[in-house]
């Protein structure tokens, strides 16, 4: 069934037990779907709570004197001036402003007597490169990959209510904040709870010791509102939410401005620069980028997939689809891709080349399905 060369997460055995179809992903043997199928898993996450194993992602602590401010020299974020517990979405950039990876960075309380500390979560396929890059650019900080930890996500409108049964205070946590058990002496040490996710829904990402992951997940799955969700629905959920998938919608050639991620770059960083690739980022912010990531809605029912050429009104190729498929909650095909900036306005007609034939489509605003983040009690 599974290849011996692939890595396994701490939940691997449970996936097989649940009847998952396993596929290789970023070097790991991962569940793409469970017996109910992608459509049902997707819709269940939007209506109740979906449980995802994302233990393949890279987790690390980054510590050192003035560490949070120091991290700002690697990425166009303002994590250095954020309070303990705040999470930021940002990108590691190369010298030419291309995206090496996108990641979550959180401020954690220092260890007793320790220096400033950040908690990072990076993409599975990029973790080795990311960690080497961080060590190269910030040799004065100590990077500690947390290989002994699992990461699971509980996403959907019921997620908070379900987790609050174990940890009542999570109910009031705003989106993009994190807390850890032990911080307030109210439970087992070592569960990091982040109100964040990759589905557009309210939800949490929970880092926990690998050895406790299977028992924790089994307990969550006892609740009929919670169902296991595979990579297939994870992809359709994030696509509907307009979120980028590294290696597809963003890579080392795309800048955060082209990718429509300028919201993640705070004003001070836009003015001051001081991060890799700042020259390009500041220039693109001032003059506008040559191309932009846009949403796309085919007129009919046929989906357009990654790699399809995008053709403008005058019959010239103006870009390419980077992610595409069917949006189960939208009930129609959806896609995203890059087009020349002049053609990036929502509503503009384009054609997507599918199997050699032009498929009529329109540039569309994203997200395709409204976000339901919890902004506060």
């Amino acid at each position: 069934m599974s290849s011996p060369d692939l890595l396994k997460t701490p939940l691997h055995e449970l996936h097989l037990e649940l009847g998952a179809r396993m596929v290789p992903f970023a070097g790991y043997d991962m569940p793409v779907q469970y017996p109910t199928g992608i459509l049902a898993e997707h819709l269940h996450t939007r209506s109740a709570a979906g449980l995802f194993d994302v233990s393949h992602m890279g987790q690390a602590f980054l510590e050192g004197p003035n560490g949070a401010r120091r991290f700002e020299t690697l990425a166009p974020t303002d994590i250095g001036v954020q309070p303990i517990g705040r999470i930021r979405y940002t990108q590691l950039l190369n010298e030419s402003g291309g995206i090496l990876d996108d990641l979550m960075v959180a401020r954690r309380a220092p260890r007793q007597g320790g220096e400033e500390r950040l908690f990072l979560v990076v993409n599975a396929a990029r973790k080795d490169e990311d960690f080497a890059h961080i060590r190269r650019l910030a040799p004065d900080l100590r990077l500690e990959p947390l290989a002994g930890r699992a990461l699971i996500a509980l996403q959907g409108p019921k997620a908070a209510e379900i987790l609050a049964r174990t940890w009542p205070r999570v109910a009031a946590m705003p989106f993009m904040t994190m807390t850890a058990t032990g911080d307030e002496g109210d439970g087992i040490e070592g569960y990091f709870l982040s109100r964040s996710g990759y589905t557009g829904e309210d939800g949490f990402e929970i880092s926990l010791p690998a050895g406790e992951a299977a028992a924790f997940v089994r307990r969550l799955l006892e609740d009929p509102e919670v169902r296991p969700i595979g990579l297939g629905a994870r992809d359709s959920l994030r696509l509907e939410a307009g979120l980028c998938l590294y290696g597809h919608d963003i890579d080392e050639t795309t800048s955060p401005i082209e990718a429509g991620l300028s919201w993640s770059i705070p004003k001070r960083r836009r003015e001051e620069g001081g991060f890799p690739g700042a020259e390009r980022i500041l220039r693109e912010m001032a003059d506008g980028p040559a191309r932009r990531r846009v949403g796309l809605r085919p007129d009919g029912k046929a989906p357009a997939r990654e790699g399809a050429d995008i053709v403008g009104e005058e019959g010239r190729t103006i870009g390419r689809v980077t992610s595409g498929g069917f949006g189960p909650s939208v009930g129609a095909p959806i896609a995203m891709g890059y087009v020349e900036s002049a053609s990036a306005a929502p509503g503009g007609p384009v054609a997507l080349m599918v199997r050699g034939k032009p498929l009529a489509a329109r540039v569309a605003a994203m997200p395709f399905h409204p976000h339901a983040y919890f902004r506060g009690p």
Binding site: V32, Q33, G37, I38, L39, A40, H42, G232, A233, D235, S236, K301, A302, P303, R305, G325, F326, P328, P333, R355
Partner: protein
Amino acid sequence: MTQIRYTKDHEYIRLDGEIAVVGISDHAQSQLGDVVFVELPAIGAKLAKGGEAAVVESVKAASEVYAPASGEVVAVNSALESEPSAINEDATGKGWLFRLKLANPAELDTLMDEAAYQEFLKTIA
């Protein structure tokens, strides 16, 4: 009794008098997952055995369907346009794709019967 035959690409073809019904096997639908779109051939199209005939798309991917035998398309299952999930529910029944008037019925002899196909599935599991 009508006989169903299969290709190694998991299409089935079932002779129904003069006309053959074509679709994808139950194994193929379960591998594909939830079907969300089907592109059918035009009525009157002349298909060559092994040539592209239709496309079945799931949430995750698009999958080509090849003609199991040569012939002319005489009907398509247009109900699939509004209800592509019929392929998941009943691939060899109401999930049929198109009907072919065979150019050479002897072509079916080269395909697997039900027992041979079940054996073939074991070899690729």
